[in-house]
């Protein structure tokens, strides 16, 4: 590059995403473990209810969110864990990319990771629980994506914080789950109604709250991130 301006926020974020994805692609362990966990959990939950008492169709929406939450936590655990080895985070901090870029890069990386898992998990859900394919499924996937944005926004920040403490594996779920509550409440209710064939307009208020949450917390967590990396 001829000029030595540091790359802008989004391009540096994207650089970080490519780096993390490259590392992930080379080893694939985290992705594969999260994937296997998601599909296994889906199958196991099938047997936790008596088929004749609660139909799989009724259970599926709930199972979807449980599996999403826990595979998200698995994915988030690893995102800053990557940097812990060899104190990679110091190299990031010394480089000219801004704190916001680090956060956005990590968050987008996590989002891609989660989307990849859901690309397998959702079809598996449809398969094992005999869910309807078509417009409801498409809408639910959209709702899942909105939920994942919120989960990733908050989870990336807490993952960065937890990694610096003594109780990292405990703290990430402990801090994140209360923040997931509004996401899950609105998304799961909306998804359940959509799966049941209700019109989207009926869940409009839930989706608006979900989008509002995403926007507020992407903004707030990007700001908060600079405070957590203050050296």
């Amino acid at each position: 590059m001829s000029d030595h301006r540091p790359p802008g926020t989004f391009s540096s974020a994207w650089l970080l995403v490519r780096k993390d994805l490259a590392i992930e692609f080379r080893t694939r362990t985290a992705f594969l473990s999260a994937l296997v966990f998601a599909v296994l959990a889906l199958t196991i939950f099938y047997f936790t209810w008596d088929e004749s008492v609660v139909s799989p169709n009724d259970r599926a929406p709930g199972v979807l969110w449980v599996v999403l939450t826990f595979s998200a936590l698995l994915g988030l655990q690893r995102s800053f864990g990557l940097e812990e080895h060899d104190r990679g985070i110091d190299a990031l901090l010394v480089s000219p990319i801004s704190r916001e870029s680090i956060y956005l890069g990590k968050a987008i990386g996590n989002l891609i990771f989660l989307c990849a898992i859901q690309l397998v998990a959702i079809p598996s859900l449809v398969l094992f629980y005999n869910m309807p394919v078509g417009r409801p499924l498409f809408l639910v996937s959209g709702i899942v994506f909105l939920a994942m944005v919120g989960i990733v926004a908050v989870g990336t920040l807490f993952s960065a914080m937890a990694v610096n403490t003594r109780l990292a594996e405990l703290l990430l779920p402990m801090l994140s789950l209360p923040f997931f509550v509004p996401i899950l409440m609105n998304a799961s209710q909306a998804a359940a109604r959509v799966f049941a064939g209700r019109p989207v307009a009926e869940v409009g208020h839930l989706l608006k709250l979900l989008v509002a949450f995403d926007l507020v917390f992407i903004f707030a967590c990007t700001l908060a991130f600079s405070f957590t990396l203050e050296e």
Binding site: V154, L157, M161, N164, T165, R166, L167, L170, L171, M174, L175, L177, P178, F179, V181, P182, M185, N186, Q189, H205, L206, L209, A212, F213, V216, F217, A220, C221, A224, F227, T228, E230
Partner: protein
């Protein structure tokens, strides 16, 4: 940054102050007074019977706990802005005291709910559900603090969590309202349910709010002083170790 001797001197004067002082004693007396009034001098409510009296503890504890967490949130903002360790200490003290009061809300709530509605837990009661999630957030806050040794990082991280938690509250409120509201015909919004209380009951109620909030503030003040002592001990022990 104050010099080491200045800090030790101010800590010494702070350490000399008793942790449970007249302010606390009066607050405790006020609470005892409310107890006596609620038990002996307030009539029973016709429909709900004696269990209605639980409200004289449940609602004041809730209001006191909300004051405490508000103090934690505000002190955290001040800490992030001014980096004053006193703000951090206040945030920690308020969180711990707030946890105690919040726990009482969560204990007295089901006792009343079961008597009133036949169910131990009612998800559509906004106050109870909000208190539950606040409880989890405070526990997370205190566990986070416990997991970080270095004071500056501990202050910063917990302050960030406190501010984000404050941002979260309206979302939880609305989400519960949207989801639980359709489970119950008329949701109880976040205000003490306002039946037309006869004057004696209303007075007990108001006195209760005053007394419990006073107790909460007194305990925060005491816990703050404990924090001063602890920080001073940590400082001296660190100095001793570094020699």
């Amino acid at each position: 940054m104050t010099s080491a001797t200045q800090r030790h001197d101010s800590a010494a004067t702070a350490a000399a102050k008793p942790v449970l002082d007249w302010f606390f004693a009066l607050a405790a007396l006020a609470v005892v007074g409310v107890y006596i009034r609620a038990i002996y001098f307030t009539p029973l409510e016709a429909r709900q019977g004696a269990a209605q009296k639980i409200y004289y503890i449940h609602v004041p504890s809730a209001i006191a706990s909300y004051c405490a967490v508000t103090i934690t949130a505000l002190a955290s903002i001040v800490f992030l802005w001014l980096h004053d360790e006193r703000a951090d200490r206040l945030a920690e003290a308020s969180a711990e005291v707030g946890l105690i009061f919040m726990s009482m809300v969560l204990v007295t709530g089901p006792l009343w709910a079961h008597n009133q509605w036949g169910a131990w837990w009612v998800w559509w009661d906004l106050r109870l559900t909000l208190s539950l999630f606040l409880w989890f957030l405070i526990v997370g806050y205190l566990v986070l603090r416990g997991a970080i040794e270095e004071p500056a990082m501990r202050g910063r991280y917990s302050a960030v969590l406190a501010v984000l938690a404050a941002l979260l509250i309206p979302f939880i409120h609305l989400s519960v309202y949207f989801s639980a509201a359709h489970m119950h015909p008329d949701p109880i919004v976040l205000q003490p349910s306002k039946p037309k209380l006869p004057p004696e009951m209303l007075l007990t109620f108001l006195l209760g709010i005053g007394a419990f909030t006073w107790l909460c503030l007194a305990l925060i003040r005491s816990r703050y002083r404990l924090g001063v002592l602890r920080d001073e001990v940590a400082l001296l022990e660190a100095e001793h170790a570094s020699r």
